[in-house]
Every structure is written in structure tokens, then in C-alpha cells.
């Protein structure tokens, strides 16, 4: 598998060339959010807001009212936690074309609880007028700008940075409200988003070999939620549905599936994998994925629960199924 280094950097610079209305607002995390080069390329369109996120959200609203399209770049937590009132009243309520590009989703960072956005999808889903998308690979990072361009209102982008695998061919860009069907099978449905998709791909291979038919869907649009691929996958009779999200299980992907199922009277069982009403702590991503049950092993266990029998899959089978290229083993330190 190809690993792409910092795909957002070039993609965003190139995309902005013909769009003079695009601005970047940064709250002192310019390089950490991969827009240092963007700033140097378009210095007049870069607004330093310093470490004052509440004001930044309001300024973004004002600029959007003037016809600009501000792209806020900072760590996600400092958007939706630190400045929620401003986000709600100065951006979401007036349905302004502000792009909230939030970095460090869930437990990808060793920065600990204050830096890990574990409830962002939930908070953005419950926010009226907000569109919510999440990137899960390099192709999605490269194509998210185009996918959301015509959304007439605020968009929250759950963004990846750094070394990112390419799971989906560059020829299949992210499309708003279109899920990806990654495999089909009649026993269980697995729904993932963001970094959990890569992990699930490892598990589904092994599950298929163990004779379990898996329908696997990757979601990139959390809101508006639901498309025909998702609907079919959720409705598929079988032992049930498993969601795995890099997020608390309340209010995010798992809840969206639950809401969809309940409103449509679909009776299959749902198992939601994710953080269970807890914040996490600072450690490496693989360590935390294991600790909080966000890895291939957790998916196998959940499948066993649904099908009601042990599948005899060993940790080593999952190891063996590791995709060709793995992440740089150096542990992230800088934020």
C-alpha cells in the first residue's frame, strides 16, 4: 500500500490557486496543521488569529459574510470545544460558508485528552446546518476540498495529516454523501470511517478466510447521513451490524446507524465499537487503538459476539494480514 506524505499540503495550495476567495485562518498551529507552505504561497490570504479561538470563529463568520470562504485550520478540539458558542451562533446559525478543518481526530495523537477530538463528530452532527465529513485515507484528504466545495453552509472536516495510507484509488475521489462498499457478504455488516477503515480492512480479510461473509462500508459523510449503499448494508439481513469509530460511541457513527435503523424499523443487532463514555490519555496511536478496542482484534471479537461462536482467529492471523506498508514506526512527538 502506498503511504502518502502530507497530501493536504500540495492539494490545498493547488486547489486555492484559482479560488481567490479562499482564506486560511490559523490559531497558532499553522505548521502543525500543514498550512505553513500555504501561508508562504498566499501570504495575503492568510490570517493569523493567534491563540484566541473564540474570536477566530467570529472573524471567520464576518469574512464569510463578505463573500470570502475562510478555512479554519487548527486542532479539532480547539474549534468545537473551545469556541462552540461562536461556532454555533456566529457560523452555524447564519449558515455561513466557513470550512472548519479539524486535526487530530480521536486517539491519533499522544497529546492526551486535551488534544484528542473524541466527541467532535457528535457535536457537529447535532449542530444545525452543519455538514460533517471525515477523511480516511490520502485520496480522501486530496479530494475532500472538491467534495464539499458546493455546500452552501458550514462544513466540518475531520482531517488527517502526516503519513497517510492510500486505501482508495486516486481515481475514486470522495463524493459527498456517497459511502464506499469495500466488501460484500451476508453474515455481518461492518461500518467504519476515518482511520478505523484501514484497521477494519485487516480484519475483514481474515474474517472472509474464516468463512464469515462481511459487508464492509466506509463512510465519509457523517451528515447528512445515509445513502443507498449504507441503507442496503444496514438493512442486509444477517447477524447484525458493527460500527467502529475513532470517537465516543454516543452521537457519532454508531448512533447515526442506530437512528437510521430505528426510524426504519430494522431489527438487527448493532454493536458499537469506540470509546465508551470516557476520555483517553496520551500514548501512541497503536497502543491506544488496542487499549480502547479500535483495532482488528476488537472487530473480530465483536463479530464473534454477533455470529454467536468463536472463529478461531489468532492475533497472529491479524498480524499477518497487516497491509503491505505500515506507518512510520517513529512515535509522533511534536504536536
Amino acid at each position: 500500500m502506498e503511504i502518502v506524505s502530507r497530501p493536504h499540503v500540495d492539494s490545498f495550495i493547488k486547489w486555492s490557486a484559482t479560488r481567490p476567495e479562499v482564506l486560511v485562518l490559523s490559531a497558532d498551529l499553522t505548521n502543525s496543521c500543514e498550512v505553513g507552505q500555504w501561508r508562504d504561497t498566499y501570504p495575503d490570504r492568510f490570517v493569523t488569529a493567534a491563540m484566541a479561538e473564540q474570536n477566530m470563529l467570529g472573524v471567520a463568520g464576518g469574512l464569510a459574510r463578505e463573500g470570502f470562504v475562510p478555512f479554519i485550520h487548527t486542532f479539532a478540539v480547539f474549534i468545537y470545544r473551545r469556541a462552540y458558542d461562536q461556532l454555533a451562533m456566529s457560523v452555524a446559525y447564519p449558515n455561513l460558508k466557513v470550512r472548519l478543518v479539524g486535526f487530530l481526530p480521536g486517539i491519533v495523537t499522544p497529546g492526551g485528552v486535551t488534544h484528542q477530538a473524541v466527541e467532535d463528530v457528535a457535536m457537529m452532527r447535532l449542530t444545525p446546518n452543519m455538514t460533517v465529513v471525515e477523511t480516511g485515507d490520502a485520496t480522501e484528504v486530496e479530494s475532500v476540498l472538491g467534495a464539499i466545495e458546493h455546500v452552501d453552509g458550514p462544513v466540518y472536516v475531520r482531517m488527517l495529516r502526516g503519513e497517510i495510507p492510500r486505501l482508495f484509488p486516486a481515481s475514486e475521489p470522495m463524493v459527498l454523501r456517497r459511502s464506499r462498499l469495500l466488501s460484500e457478504g451476508d453474515d455481518v455488516t461492518i461500518i467504519t470511517a476515518g482511520i478505523t477503515t484501514e484497521e477494519a480492512l485487516r480484519a475483514t480479510r481474515v474474517l472472509h478466510s474464516a468463512g464469515v461473509g462481511v459487508t464492509h462500508v466506509h463512510v465519509s459523510t457523517h451528515k447528512p447521513f445515509g445513502d443507498s449503499i449504507l441503507a442496503e448494508a444496514i438493512e442486509r439481513p444477517g447477524h447484525g451490524v458493527i460500527t467502529m469509530e475513532n470517537h465516543v460511541i454516543t452521537g457519532g457513527l454508531g448512533s447515526a446507524v442506530a437512528e437510521y435503523a430505528a426510524e426504519n424499523g430494522i431489527g438487527g443487532r448493532l454493536v458499537r465499537l469506540g470509546l465508551r463514555d470516557t476520555y483517553a490519555h496520551g500514548a501512541s496511536r497503536p497502543y491506544l487503538m488496542k487499549e480502547y478496542g479500535l483495532d482488528a482484534g476488537a472487530l473480530v471479537s465483536a463479530t464473534e459476539r454477533l455470529v454467536g461462536q468463536p472463529l478461531g482467529i489468532a492475533e497472529s492471523d491479524l498480524e499477518a494480514a497487516r497491509l503491505d506498508v505500515v506507518h512510520s514506526i517513529a512515535k509522533a512527538e511534536a504536536l
Binding site: N55, G58, G62, A64, E66, M89, S90, P94, N129, G153
Partner: protein, 312 residues
């Protein structure tokens, strides 16, 4: 980069005319208060001259776009809500050389509506729709309300938005200024200080705030609830140009608003929340919202008001 505003200043302003506007604003609010057994009266008493100076002289606004009637609530802003109309239209269409006016402490809405009515921007019958179900004349102005362009009932959010607007306008080379009316309570919110720092750092000379420093808030006198003084020093230390005036002296207000400075301007208008109606002081420290306790009390206030206005 931002040009000087329209001709103004004490020399040209018709002070007597502006005083009549201030009195008219208060009259309209009093009428409402008597009819509805209460309301945001102290805000009209403290801010009457400020609104008179702004709408009667200082602001360089275009004519109202469309009807001067407030209209029905058009739904919230949303993709596909084509019926939506911003309350900003009562301040005229935005134009490069025109001023923009943002209204921050949304509970002052009745004072704003009264001012718009006085200067002919709002239909004379509009005040009757105040806080009526389904009208845009909301008690806490939202951005569909006449004269309101941002939704700032959660206080201290307009200044940031105004800074964004002022920045955007400067990027486009516009000469018009961006004004914000604020209450002093808003200087307790951290966001205000973030914005003053931002505005001075970015040299947003087009940004001009006018503050009704009436020294009061919901719980009583600010000195007892949460002190913000010395306000001038605080604002100055944050890199803005602060000018202190008697907020009931229209000439001072108009002069201060015309200050020539390369920094963001903050006019701190020292006001009295019982100005022109000292009787209200009997309710101190709770002046924020008036509710008559009995019909008799209301009648006695009505009599006091009649006597005073006969005099003035």
C-alpha cells in the same frame, strides 16, 4: 486605507435635531413599557443619545432596501431558504463607501427598533409587533430583526464578526467603516479582549465600537457584580484608541465618533441608566429590566413620565 466617513462632527451636526431623536426613542420605549407592563427601559434611558448620534448623524448608510415593515419571521438561515431576508436591509445595502452597523447586545433591540422608527427606517406601526409571535421584531434581536445583521443574544460575539467584516472590507479596498454598538457588560467576556487584541494587531482602523457604559448589568451595578474599570486603560493597553465621553452629550458623542485615529476606535459613552427619568433609580440596583409590580405603580410611572415630557 479606510477613508474618513461622511462629513460630520459638531460643526455640521444638528444637535437639537439629534436630541429630538433621542427623546423620540425614549418616548417610543416608554409607550411600549406602559402598554406591556414593563420592558427594557433603562437601556433606552442610557443609550438614547448614542443611537440618535449614530442613526441621526454619524452612520453613512444607504436607504432601506425594500419595505420598511418588519415582516414575518422568514425561517432560519438555511441552504434553500430563499425567503430569508437579513435585518441588515434596514441599514441599507452594503456598499464599499458606506458604513456597516452591527448591533451587539441584542436585548437593546427595542432601543434599536425605536431609533430606526425615529429616523424613518422602520414603519411607524412596527413597534406594535414587538415580541409578537411570528414577527421579526424579536425581543432579543436576531439577524432577521430590523437593523440586526448578526445573531448576538449571546453577548460579545458581534465585535469578532465585525472585525472579520472590517478585515474583509479592507482586503477588498473598501473605504466604509464598520461600526459596532456594545454594552459594557460585554467587557466581562473574554472574547471581547481577544477581539480587541486581534483588531489592534491587524490595524483594523475601519473598526469602530461605541459602548453604552451605563455601569449596570442584570444583577445590579457592575462595580458590585464584576468590575471592568479602569475601562479606558484596559482598552488602551490592548492597543485600541479609547475615547471617553459623556454619553448624554450629543456633541461629545459625535465628535468622539469622528476621532481621527489609525487604530481601532472604542468610544466609551458614560451614561446614566435613569437619565431623563430619575424616578427609575428607586429600583436600584436592579435596573436591567422593568416590570411593574402593580397597576397603581404603572399609573404613577405614567404620570411621572407625562409630567417630565410636558416639561422637556
Amino acid at each position: 486605507m479606510i477613508g474618513a466617513g461622511p462629513p460630520g462632527g459638531t460643526a455640521t451636526a444638528d444637535i437639537a435635531g439629534l436630541e429630538r431623536i433621542a427623546a423620540g426613542i425614549r418616548r417610543r420605549v416608554f409607550e411600549h413599557v406602559f402598554r406591556h407592563n414593563g420592558g427594557y427601559l433603562s437601556q433606552a434611558l442610557s443609550a438614547g443619545e448614542i443611537f440618535a448620534a449614530l442613526y441621526g448623524s454619524v452612520l453613512n448608510l444607504g436607504p432601506v432596501t425594500g419595505d420598511t415593515r418588519p415582516g414575518r419571521f422568514p425561517g432560519v438561515p438555511a441552504a434553500g431558504n430563499t425567503a430569508y431576508r437579513s435585518g441588515g436591509r434596514f441599514n441599507g445595502a452594503p456598499a464599499p463607501d458606506r458604513d456597516r452597523f452591527l448591533f451587539s447586545p441584542a436585548h437593546y433591540a427595542i432601543v434599536l427598533y425605536a431609533a430606526l422608527s425615529e429616523v424613518g427606517r422602520l414603519h411607524d406601526s412596527a413597534m406594535e409587533e414587538f415580541n409578537v409571535d411570528g414577527s421579526t421584531m424579536e425581543m432579543i434581536g436576531a439577524e432577521h430583526s430590523p437593523g440586526v445583521e448578526t445573531t448576538t443574544g449571546s453577548l460579545a460575539q458581534a465585535l469578532s464578526q465585525a472585525a472579520g467584516i472590517a478585515l474583509g472590507r479592507r482586503m477588498r479596498g473598501e473605504s466604509g467603516r464598520t461600526w459596532v454598538f456594545m454594552s459594557d457588560g460585554e467587557f466581562q467576556e473574554g472574547q471581547t479582549w481577544e477581539t480587541l487584541a486581534f483588531a489592534s494587531f491587524h490595524r483594523l482602523r475601519g473598526l469602530r465600537a461605541v459602548v453604552d457604559a451605563n455601569g449596570q448589568q442584570c444583577d445590579g451595578a457592575m462595580v458590585d457584580v464584576g468590575n471592568i474599570e479602569p475601562l479606558i486603560d484596559r482598552i488602551t493597553s490592548f492597543g485600541c484608541h479609547a475615547v471617553e465621553v459623556d454619553g448624554h452629550d450629543i456633541a461629545q458623542l459625535v465628535d468622539a465618533m469622528a476621532s481621527d485615529t489609525s487604530k481601532p476606535l472604542v468610544v466609551v459613552a458614560r451614561t446614566d441608566p435613569t437619565h431623563t427619568f430619575p424616578r427609575l433609580a428607586e429600583r436600584a440596583p436592579l435596573l436591567h429590566y422593568l416590570r411593574f409590580t402593580s397597576a397603581a405603580e404603572r399609573a404613577s410611572y405614567e404620570a411621572a413620565y407625562a409630567e417630565l415630557s410636558g416639561k422637556s
